[in-house]
Amino acid sequence: MKKQRKRFSYQYFFHIMGILFAILLLFFMIFSLVKPDRSFSEKENRVLSSRPGFDLSQIASGNYETQYETYVNDQFPLRDLWVTIKAATDRVLGKTDGNGVYLGKSGYLMEDFTPPSKEQLDRTLNAMTTFASDHPDLKQYVLIAPNAVNILKDKLPASAPVKDQNQYLDTVRDAVTAQGVTFIDVRDTLTSHKDDGIYYHTDHHWTTQGAYFAFLQAAGAMDLDSSSIPYDKLPVTTHFQGTLSAKSGFRSNETDEIDVFLPRNEDTPASVVNYVSQQKKSASFYSTEQLDTRDKYAMFFGGNFPQIKISTATESERTLLVLKDSYANCFVPFLAPYYRTIIMIDPRYYYGDLEELMEVENIQEVLYLYNANTFFSDTSLELALTPQQGA
């Protein structure tokens, strides 16, 4: 009797399995076919792939097939739900890192630091020091913002094996200081304010608050009277989901607040922002329409552009060139009142002739403003600083 029950059990189980399997396969196959394609995933903050074009040579090489499989994955029904399930399972399994992002304490997500190759770092530093010795008349400053993974070490998961940014920052400091360039070392400043919300929880940028602390130190080095312009902090959104939650899948439902710092005094000189390659002008540093999109950090100057010119009606005659990444976008508004002209160049997108530009704009000072993760993985700064041949 027992034996019979056993055999019956298995058969029943296999029948359930067979039906379940058939239903699952058919359901998702049909669902995939009827579901319209999406072009962008808000949750993952990235463009989803679309159906590849049919091309015989691409098929023969296998590229078409690979692209098609990526397309099917990206457009699979309920993709956001699957991503959530995957991240939740990772957490249950005890994982505290994913895609190079650590799941830190107090709600912080922190991007791991990838050390540069010695050759690449040497090339970049060489370009910077050569530039410095070619332009002894320019005042030059380097501000490389350490990342959360460096300053908020105590918020990392216990014993997370992160690489140390500091030795590389020291290398940069020593190399540029030897050429008479001022290295604005904000590590101590930021460390002393590490509990003041200087980094976003879900994003890889520093907050406006963090940038302001760094500015106060930079002002000393750059001879700017920071006490003359007091600021008020104004929250503009509390629904900012940063790139790190998208990248890792962790804490994908949590949000950050973005603040802007507005000058308290109404007589602070006004600026005009000129997006040179876009041939567009604006009277504000902020593009509030970006607050309606996923990429809310882009409200600072509308994101990254190859060249932005900021003209300010100030009595100062000073002109500044900022070679920068996105960390500068919330920082540069603090500099604006002190300079008649600021040119912001993002070497990742800029292909013009820097020498010519500096001559035309009569540049007197140069500030390198990067975050360490971008600076140490960057290859474009070196190209931008090297004079163009035959130009």
Partner: protein, 462 residues
């Protein structure tokens, strides 16, 4: 195409199975043949010709050999010709570059050669075809006169790209007559789900630990052991998961393939390990190399020679690189050691100690297997034993031990029979709950597959 991809499971498999179940029985072979060609051509459309040629060549040669029944000399000539051609094809695509590089290193004459992509599954289908032609010549099996049926055997997609190395003799009857039923679909789904979970949930996550450890630059003893433990578990789940999926797909279509893995990591000796690991490959080498060479029914020196020949070839089969040959010979040495020196000692050990000895031997073996570069291999090994290590334990070790702990515990349990026995008991107690467990596993796998751009099987390199 790989089994553990959204594309295979939700774009290829559903229409294929639906058609397979709907068409009359006599059309199933042609459908399976066409399906297999599409499966192969998806991603590798050029080499499908090579696979077809290999299939047809062996089909034809088997008929030739059979035809020369009265002429043993002619038979032998034809057999040697057929085997040579098979080995030349495999040799050209898999070992040509390796051979020339080795030649260059020895002589200092550098010869440039084109970097050919390895045709998917070539090691597997060549061995399947060879087993068939050798069995026909030994009259163990009658040659197949219908090319379609032979092609179905040698190219069918379930075991085409990464095994098991199914023998023609084992499924001869099923090639012409096989039954399908809801029970078999369910049985296949059970195998497939378990295999998919082994690959996607365990192997891929373990692989992430192993790769981050390799790139962490940590030099502590414990990190090295955690790394190789992750790799050891990953290899098993990757490969046995693939075999489970292949067996499951076979069941759905009415085939029964022999099992390819039998809990290798519970073995109490290295020889037992090799009776439980990649069984279809081990038995291939036993039946077609070791025994024809005389096996162990020869003098001791010849027996030792036979063992080394078989293991050097086993190593070489896994990849065109010296470290694989070295890895094979390492096992040859262990088998000799167990056969002649430890044969009275090992059985006296407590089971756990014998298992521990086996696993340490196997894990060291995987170090040879995982690193093609001898100097980094040597470095890794010496760190494992404390030479050149920065410390016994460091942050990296603590971090991966802590964050990987649950995964390691689940993985070690899943290497042993206990978990599967409990699942069987659950089926008997509550069929629906057991099915719900499978459903959960399947959905979790879907989540991981959707999230990840697919990671190829380790064994597809071979």
């Amino acid at each position: 195409m790989v089994f553990s991809s959204i594309f295979f499971i939700f774009c290829f498999l559903p229409p294929f199975l639906l058609l397979y179940y709907l068409v009359p029985e006599k059309f199933r072979n042609i459908l399976l043949f066409i399906g297999s060609l599409i499966f192969y051509a998806w991603g590798d459309p050029v080499y499908v010709v090579l696979m077809l040629f290999s299939s047809f060549f062996n089909y034809y040669m088997a008929l030739e050999i059979d035809h020369l029944d009265m002429d043993p000399k002619g038979r032998k000539k034809n057999l040697i010709f057929a085997v040579t051609i098979n080995l030349l094809i495999l040799g050209f695509f898999k070992y040509w570059g390796f051979l020339l590089d080795t030649f260059s290193t020895i002589t200092g004459i550098s010869i440039s050669h084109p970097q050919l992509a390895l045709p998917i599954g070539i090691s597997f289908y060549t061995f399947k075809n060879l087993s068939y032609i050798l069995d026909v010549s030994k009259k163990k099996v009658a040659p197949q006169r219908n090319f379609l049926i032979y092609a179905v055997y040698s190219t069918m997609f379930p075991h085409m790209s990464a095994g098991p190395i199914v023998r023609y003799a084992d499924i001869e009857g099923q090639l012409t007559r096989r039954s399908i039923s809801l029970t078999r679909l369910g049985l296949g789904a059970e195998y497939f789900t378990k295999g998919l979970a082994k690959k996607v949930l365990l192997a891929d996550n373990l692989s992430a630990i192993y790769t981050s450890i390799l790139s962490s630059g940590s030099n502590s003893v414990l990190t090295a052991w955690i790394g190789i433990l992750a790799y050891t578990l990953q290899l098993y789940f990757d490969f046995s998961g693939y075999s489970d999926m292949a067996i499951g797909l076979g069941k759905m279509m009415g085939f029964d393939f022999l099992k390819n893995f039998d809990y290798p990591y519970i073995s109490t000796s290295v020889s037992e390990f090799w009776r439980r690991w990649h069984i279809s490959l081990g038995s291939w080498f036993r039946d077609y190399i070791y025994i024809p060479l005389g096996g162990n029914r020869v003098s001791v020196p010849k027996n030792i020679r036979n063992i080394f020949v078989v293991w050097a070839l086993t190593g070489l089969w896994h990849g065109a690189s010296w470290n694989f040959i070295f890895w094979g010979l390492y096992y040859g040495l262990f088998l000799l050691l167990e056969k002649f020196v430890l044969k009275d000692f090992l059985p006296k050990l407590p089971k756990w100690a014998a298992n521990l000895y086996t696993m340490i031997a196997v894990m060291i073996g995987w170090v040879f297997f995982s690193q093609t570069d001898f100097s980094s291999m040597g470095h890794y090994l010496s760190v494992m034993f404390g030479f050149g290590a920065s410390a016994f334990l460091d942050r990296t070790a603590v971090y991966y031990l802590k964050t990987g702990l649950i995964l390691f515990v689940i993985s070690i349990l899943a290497c042993r029979p206990g978990l599967y026995q409990s699942f069987k008991k659950l089926i008997q107690r509550n069929e629906k709950a057991a099915a719900a467990v499978n459903l959960l596993l399947f959905l979790l796998c879907v989540a991981y597959m959707v999230y990840n751009s697919y990671t190829p099987f380790l064994y597809q390199k071979f």
